[in-house]
């Protein structure tokens, strides 16, 4: 990307922007959890609250880039993806969103709410039997959220909530790896593995766990409180490489 002195300059520019911003600094909040954990509902409530507080908020969802999402969608429709292809395409979608949606918003001092972040890739790919170290490297240079809210539910609750309204689709139910024909049975087995992966990630990456078996309002007020406690956290130096690489790509100077 950039030469060594140029890279040093870009790193300094990144540090300056996030540690001594002209206004509010960009702040990244990730919502994570298995399907049926209620995180999308909470994300919407949370966003509405932040906006009512006068904050500038943008949302980004998993597998939503205009560039890569259609590619993934067409291949999912014909059930043609191996775990490696599934993982690589989602990492490509994520990378494109980081560069075109997440970084520009953070640079402009906005609050970015990610409805699923790279941990979704790690949990699902891990449950598909891929080596987590390999998967994590796909997402380099890593961009760490300021806060990660993990919505914890049991496999039974997740399965009950998901199947109450629909039949889980092929990849959602992990039928590509469970070899089970029954989508509900497959979903239960797969989500059990996904939750196990999430629980390990929650410890390693210090997620803030929300008991998603609580009522909606209890969760929402807890989120408000946790956000207020966490919003003054210092910017993580771990993110300097990701920001510098993005700066070198965009040619931004300030």
């Amino acid at each position: 990307m950039a030469s060594r002195p140029e890279n040093r300059r870009l790193r300094e520019l990144a540090r300056l922007r996030f540690t001594k911003p002209p206004g509010r600094r960009g702040f990244l909040v990730a919502f994570e959890g298995p399907d049926g954990s209620g995180k999308t509902t909470q994300r919407k409530l949370f966003k509405t609250w932040l906006k009512s507080e006068g904050l500038d908020v943008v949302t980004t969802k998993w597998n939503s880039s205009d560039l890569v999402k259609p590619i993934i969608k067409s291949r999912k429709a014909v059930q043609a993806l191996s775990p490696e292809e599934f993982s690589l395409l989602h990492a490509a979608d994520f990378r494109h969103r980081v560069e075109h949606a997440i970084m520009p918003a953070l640079w402009d001092g906005k609050i970015v709410i990610a409805d699923r972040f790279l941990f979704t890739g790690l949990a699902r790919d891990g449950a598909r039997g891929l080596d987590l170290d390999w998967v994590l490297r796909l997402y380099q240079p890593l961009l760490w959220p300021d806060l990660v809210f993990y919505f914890a539910v049991s496999a039974d609750t997740s399965g009950r909530r998901v199947t109450a309204t629909r039949t889980p689709n092929f990849y959602e139910s992990g039928r590509d790896v469970t070899d089970l024909d029954d989508p509900v049975e497959s979903y239960h087995r797969f989500v059990t593995s996904v939750i196990k992966e999430y629980e390990s990630l929650a410890v390693i990456f210090k997620f803030i766990t929300i008991d998603a078996e609580q009522s909606m309002s209890q969760q929402h007020y807890q989120l408000r409180e946790l956000f207020r406690e966490g919003e003054n956290r210092p910017w993580s130096e771990w993110n300097v490489e990701a920001v510098a690489e993005w700066l070198s790509l965009t040619g931004r100077q300030a």
């Binding site: 259609p70 191996s82 990492a91 494109h96 075109h100 390999w134």
Partner: protein, 185 residues
């Protein structure tokens, strides 16, 4: 067009995987077909081409509003396409005892990534899933009129950071030449 060969340890059973890399797809494929024609049983041999999965074809369909992909995004997509080729073309051919030429294979993607300034460690790790070929050829082409390198360099030149497609192609060629020397292609 200069083609040099390298023998490497065989890591896949029975059949033979030959990697053919270079910056221009047309020349690389021609070289791969020449290798196949010279094989002991050419009818039991084939060529695996870039974008067999159609990922890059689909990428072209996306409008300019979708955003220009970076080198990392392009390489993740290249790796996804290679995973598809390995699953449907390369591994089955090797298991059936056929000769298969992957044109291009990993070295082309790594050269592109190096030309774009990406860390070697990340590139190596990205393609860790790809088995080592039994043989490898490097085709020295003067331009990248077709294929991944030409496509990728054109994409990079549309970013605001001043990447020139011609310079990036030249750097990719240099990286491939260096890789060929290092591994005695």
């Amino acid at each position: 067009m200069a083609v040099a060969d390298r023998k490497a340890s065989v890591t896949m059973p029975r059949g033979t995987l030959i990697a053919v890399d270079g910056i221009d797809a047309a020349e690389v494929v021609a070289a791969a077909r020449a290798r196949i024609a010279a094989a002991a049983r050419p009818r039991r041999a084939g060529v695996s081409l870039w974008d067999a999965s159609g990922v890059f074809d689909d990428l072209v369909v996306a409008g300019p509003d979708a955003g220009i992909p970076s080198a990392r995004t392009l390489l993740l997509l290249y790796a996804a396409d290679l995973a598809f080729r390995l699953r449907w073309e390369i591994k089955p051919a090797v298991i059936e005892g056929r000769v298969i030429a992957a044109a291009p294979y990993v070295a082309t993607a790594v050269a592109f990534g190096r030309a774009a300034g990406l860390p070697t460690a990340w590139l190596k790790e990205l393609f860790r899933f790809a088995p080592r070929p039994a043989q490898a050829c490097y085709v020295d082409c003067s331009s990248a009129r077709s294929g991944f390198i030409g496509f990728g360099c054109n994409q990079l030149s549309q970013h605001a950071n001043g990447f020139s497609a011609r310079d990036t192609v030249a750097r990719a060629r240099t990286h491939l030449q260096a890789a060929a020397r290092r591994t005695r292609f």
